[in-house]
């Protein structure tokens, strides 16, 4: 029952990636003259010629795209211009750091956000709800990079408890993970709150209460299991936000991940690495969404039947 669905989704995965490839190609190759975009003013004729040969700029555009796709299928984005080695290797070396940061942040955001949302729904329209909901709305207005700076100012510069940047130990991960988690946290609070409040007026919940079940029991056995799915599908949507947020967070804390690599490579006009990094981010999002969908099917038999 589940296997055919997964297979069907896996068929669509290359299609999604093909669209990503097309978008990357259009944006980086067709919005201007690639020679102007990728080489600076001090370019030599040799550099222009090398780039023309590398990107096959002398061929018609459809042919360029086909060559781009062929290289893509081989996992070949070309050699990095600023590091030694292939662009894929350069990106994969930093993939671990990004996944570590994004995973920790997602875990934090889900645990804290769902708890906060449950608290809001249970004590709805009381002080706790008003305070948590207001903080959540304020949190949605907070630029994450400013929060990052405030955390550095306080915990790193004034209290000297944690390092301002760096990588490797747990203490390096704390501030970046909190910063990135805060981007998602308010949304998880609000979505959990709304889902639970909606479930509270469902008939099976009312029945449970009138049978004499306690508030806590109804919450645990009737409401929470049904609230898992809306939160999960929201989580799927948020993976994109998470990966986008990691670009900014990595830049603030000099975290050696793919996001910071992407920004640096844009400034160094390192096209192969830019393309590989974009592709890595898009693939991560597509695969995570697939995982979320499969998880939803495992949890909720109603989706399986549909």
């Amino acid at each position: 029952m589940i296997l055919p669905y997964i297979l069907r989704r896996l068929v669509f995965l290359p299609l999604t990636l093909l669209l990503v490839a097309l978008a990357t190609f259009v944006v980086l190759r067709l919005t201007g003259n690639p020679v102007d975009i990728f080489l600076d003013i001090n370019r030599t004729p040799e550099q222009v010629e090398a780039l023309t040969r590398r990107l096959h700029l002398d061929l018609p555009i459809p042919a360029q795209f086909l060559i781009f796709l062929r290289d893509l299928l081989h996992g070949d984005f070309g050699e990095s211009l600023q590091f030694s080695g292939s662009a894929v290797d350069v990106v994969m070396q930093r993939a671990g750091a990004t996944l570590q940061l994004a995973g920790t942040a997602l875990g934090l955001a889900v645990v804290l956000g769902v708890s906060g949302g449950i608290a809001c729904a249970v004590w709805r329209d009381r002080a706790a709800d008003a305070i948590i909901s207001s903080i959540a709305v304020a949190g949605q207005s907070m630029p994450s990079f400013w929060l990052g700076m405030l955390l550095i100012e306080f915990f790193a510069l004034q209290m000297r408890w944690l390092p301002t940047s760096g990588y490797g130990e747990l203490r390096h991960l704390v501030l970046p993970a909190i910063t990135l988690a805060t981007i998602l946290l308010p949304n998880f609070v609000l979505i959990t709150r709304t889902s639970i409040i909606e479930l509270m007026s469902e008939q099976f919940v009312v029945t449970g209460r009138s049978k004499g079940m306690s508030h806590g029991r109804v919450l645990l056995t009737h409401i929470l299991p049904n609230a898992v799915n809306p939160v999960l599908s929201f989580l799927g949507i948020q993976i994109g936000t998470l990966m986008a947020g990691s670009i900014v967070t990595e830049t603030i804390y000099a975290w050696p991940g793919v996001g910071r690599l992407l920004i640096n490579s844009i400034f160094h006009r390192d096209v192969p690495v830019v393309e590989a990094a974009v592709f890595f981010i898009a693939t991560t999002i597509a695969l995570s969404n697939l995982a979320v969908d499969v998880l939803q099917m495992l949890i909720d038999p109603r989706i399986r039947r549909a």
């Binding site: 999604t16 329209d125 008003a130 709305v137 207005s141 700076m149 986008a244 844009i266």
Partner: protein
Amino acid sequence: MKKKRLFGKRVKIAVGGTLLTVAVLCAIFAPLIAPWDPDQQDLMARLKPGFWSDKAVAGHILGTDNYGRDLLSRLIYGSRLSILVGVSSMLLSALIGSTAGVIAGLKGGMTEQTIMRFADAQMAFPDILLAILMVAALGGNALNLILVLGISRWMVYARVVFGLTRSLKQRPFVEAATLYGGGDFYVMRRHIIPQVAPVLIVVATLQVAQMILQETALSFLGLGLPPPAATWGNILAEGNTRLFIAPWIANFAGLSIIALVWGVNMLGNGLREHYDPKLAER
């Protein structure tokens, strides 16, 4: 029995509207309000703190930056760009998105599939990533920023408008209008747009907040307007490199951004409760 909410919609609209009005007035009358020229350098008064410190230099209420430029004046001028880019890119994406949404909803079939699947595909791609790539390709100036941000968010409107149009199309009054010989354009103007407008206003208001945040994020990454320009994101990025010696630069820039964005969010939430009372009861 319904309990009274701590913050009613009136309070939200009033607070949010006031903050937005103040910011818009600052932006319009920047040359009159700002005490200094935002680009005027004074290398003798570099990185001086503001009124809270006894090391302050007279005339610079919020202190100065690395080139001795007046921080308050730069923030006032910065509001111009944030609001201009935020509102213009919202208008652009609302225009593209709602046109695409109405067409998809009215036409159906292949047109609908093409437009909406395209919207889905773009939804799966982080908007800031697309914006980063496009700015890198096109170069950062105000017009490009508006263009890039506008294109990166059109599908938000397309989805909302599409859903509404499709359900409206089946309502008797729209069917009647079609049967009387009303063309697509007539139905759109007379029956669809008036119904969609309130929802669109709410979505658009909340999107302005998102656009302002995106613009500051791009500036912060160094992909906004080139540095001498006084934008909030640029000021914040400059402050980031001097957090230890001059934390006030980043702090005041951050405060300006959060005040405006929070105000716009409040206004949007208040408007949503006004137009959709069912939602406010939750």
